[in-house]
């Protein structure tokens, strides 16, 4: 980035997207919500095509803008149906005038589908992998972590406060979609060779876990999802950080290229391993607590089959995370990635993430603090 002449534009776009997300979480009106959602999406599409030399970058941006335009259209349709049946776009009034009539259910389904697009919930996930693979690393990290977190928060607010009268409907939808998302994300992640696509599919599976937590409907749902997203940000950023350092310096993005990494770059390897363990939910990393609290929240509805499926999915996910760990620590390689010089700012960034991964879990007051706010 030091060399690019477009740094101010890039940062401006990123900040604009963040502004959109902030407004989106705070919005109490469907129209403000729609506008801010667009503000949060369109700059990201511009950012995705920032790698002008690569064809895949523009391709990813194109896919992203098309799919998000499509989902925005669906969302707008849902909103207009809601307005038609209730006569208001203010969220507090909306929740009072919802009565579960078929038209409103249809509106809700559209609404839900639009959110599913943004969160890349299966079966609306098809854009994710291509976009992630094509975009520059910084944008991929932004997309997979930050924008997903924001959408998840507003999703929770909508479900809990606005569509509360339709609880029994969205609970079933959430359960089915959560199972589908976890299983599909995990099964596809098994077969990926490119580290970006791998992280993309693993992030789909993680969204499935977030849905498990959301399905609980109660303060635990909000709190555990907020906490998990915090943890997830640290873990995923650390993983993307290491992957991007390696890709930037050597151009290697395949998992096979990571073989024997420990011999040459122990620091990066440990950071990557820590991040992957956290994503897999292995103690003492914070990911363990995050996942467990999501499952605890989900279990409060006493659907043990659902929780069992989620818990078994943790095994599949462990398998593919261990694949990377194995490549880094155990496999031998004729020409591994050479010893990389990482600048201090990179080290600092990774250490902040690493400290976050370890201490967010062990410092239990962080969780209690979130709980006290809700």
């Amino acid at each position: 980035m030091k060399r690019t002449p477009h740094l101010p534009e890039f940062v401006t776009l990123m900040l604009a997207a963040m502004l959109g997300m902030d407004l989106m979480i705070s919005s109490a009106n469907m129209l403000i919500f729609y506008l801010s959602l667009e503000l949060a999406t369109i700059p990201v599409a511009a950012m995705a095509s920032f790698d002008l030399e690569k064809k895949t970058s523009s391709e990813g941006a194109m896919k992203m803008i098309l799919s998000s335009a499509f989902s925005s259209g669906i969302l707008l349709f849902g909103i207009s149906l809601l307005y038609g049946t209730t006569g208001t776009v203010n969220l507090p009034e909306l929740s009072q005038s919802l009565n579960g009539s078929p038209l409103q259910i249809m509106a809700f389904v559209f609404f839900f589908a639009a959110f599913a697009f943004k969160l890349s919930v299966v079966p609306f996930h098809l854009w994710t992998a291509d976009v992630y693979e094509g975009s520059p690393f910084a944008v991929t990290a932004f997309l997979s972590v930050i924008s997903k977190g924001a959408v998840a928060f507003i999703f929770i607010t909508m479900l809990y406060h606005v569509f509360q009268p339709m609880l029994h409907i969205w609970y079933m939808m959430l359960v089915i979609l959560a199972v589908l998302t976890m299983v599909t994300g995990n099964l596809f992640a098994l077969r990926q060779q490119n580290i970006k696509r791998f992280l993309a599919f693993s992030s789909i599976a993680q969204v499935g876990f977030i849905l498990v937590g959301i399905s609980s409907y109660g303060t635990m749902g909000v709190v555990s999802a907020t906490y998990f997203i915090l943890v997830y940000i640290f873990s995923n950023l650390a993983a993307f950080g290491v992957a991007s350092v390696i890709a930037e310096k050597t151009g290697k993005e395949k998992i096979d290229d990571y073989k024997g990494l420990y011999q040459t770059n122990p620091f990066l390897t440990w950071m990557m391993a820590l991040a992957l363990f956290s994503l897999a939910g292995i103690p003492p990393t914070a990911g363990f607590f995050g996942k467990l609290f999501l499952l605890t929240a989900g279990a409060s509805r006493a659907d043990y089959w659902f929780i069992l499926i989620a818990a078994l999915n943790m095994i599949i996910s462990l398998y593919y995370y261990l694949k990377v760990v194995r490549a880094m620590f155990m496999d031998k390689n004729e020409n591994p990635v050479e010893r990389l010089h990482t600048s201090n700012s990179v080290k600092l960034g990774l250490i902040i993430c690493g400290a976050g991964i370890v201490f967010t879990g062990l410092f239990s007051w962080i969780f209690d603090y979130i709980k006290s706010l809700s």
């Binding site: 760990v325 194995r326 620590f329 709980k371």
Partner: protein, 492 residues
Amino acid sequence: MNLLFLIGAPLLTALAVLLARSKQQVRWISLAGPTVQLAMAFALFYFFRREKAAGNTSQVLFEQNHKLFEALNINFHFGVDGIAVAMILLTSFVLIAGVLVSWNVEKMTKEFYFLLILLALGAYGFFISLDLFIMFFFLEISVIPKYLLIGIWGSGKKEYAANKLALMLMGGSALILVGILGLYFLGGNSFDMLKLAKTNIPENLQQILFPLLFVGFGVFTALFPLHTWVPDGHSSAPTAGSMFLAGISMKLGGYGALRVATYLLPEGAKQYADIIIILSAIAILYGAFATMMQKDLKYINAYSSVSHVGFSLLGIGMLTQTAFTGALMQMVSHGVMTALFFAVIGMIYDRTHTRMVAEMGGLMKVMPFITTVFFIVGLCSLGLPGLSGFVAEMTVFVGSWENADAFHRIATIAAAMSIVVTAVYILRAIGRTAMGPITNESHLQLGDARWNEKLAAIILVAGILAIGIAPGWLNDLLQPAAAEIMNRIAGK
């Protein structure tokens, strides 16, 4: 005595290992840490006995409760009963012996010791916690160190074995997790074991939760159809890794199966006791016969572990107080014995570079110390009176015989038959390797045990003899705790 020291000491040791500069420093630090832990385990034992002798009848001693995750009612609730004290002693014995026998690890020494001590940390934490969530946390901590130990320092099909082990144990954890969450909501949002023991859980829910918890812990302790990670994992692991896996990690499962599944869900245990007996009897016999077919020393001990650990599950399934005591004794005894067995195999392998029985012979002449220890541990394994194996297995059989019906009798007899098979394979293996002429000329130059190996062997042999000759102290520890569990099953 403050139980937090038991977690603090390994933690400090692990950090000190990370900061050490040379390999020699790493070795001495990681010897010093476990020595302190051994001393602390003895101190714990001493204080525990003193408290008990002074007439303290509370179920757990040295209780501590620190708030953690207040919002979810998760607490650092610690305390030990007799079982935990015995297991902590076992862990510290095996840990120090493991550190000593791996003195010559040259590949990534620092990481090796770091992971080994992390494993011990998980075990200590598991045994002292009374909060199911914290217990689960410590149980899970040990999965990744095991994976890396096998995968990096192992031999043979190490990556396959490491993967299999990690995934199967994770599967067990998944089942345990669901079981624990079920208990949490049934017990009024509490993970506290003492509190859960006082709540009445509806019988139909116990029938659902018990298999989840028991099978989950059963994976860790090689419950019959789920034992397949044991042979691969144990035989591929480095020496200290196998010692720890067989000596401690399998006991985590046994302890959980008894202390969590059976104790908290007595009605479920009654329902499924027969199935447990059948499965463990199969495991005992199958393990023994499978061992007969093995040619690799490590596989021999791995399969015989399946058979021996079957006795502790059999004891749990019998649901009598004596049988419980026997099951627990078998856990401790097998822990020491199998650790010593793997240590000896490791010593032999370091010298001969083969573990195949057929390629060895007459080792008695070149390494008298090692073969003598090999004899002792072999005899302990086949249940010679005076050594720990006899005491434990005998107690299990006596306890089993208290059930007067035909089913239990047949299962007991079937299990007892395995002792004959054990004698066959142990004597054959020892005879082929230690006795007779030296078959391989190159073995003539081999040396005997070095100081570190001698020390490790002596420590573990002392453990075997202490249980075998004077089992009273162990019985005093385990009996009251077993009685407590039995009371709950009898519904008192």
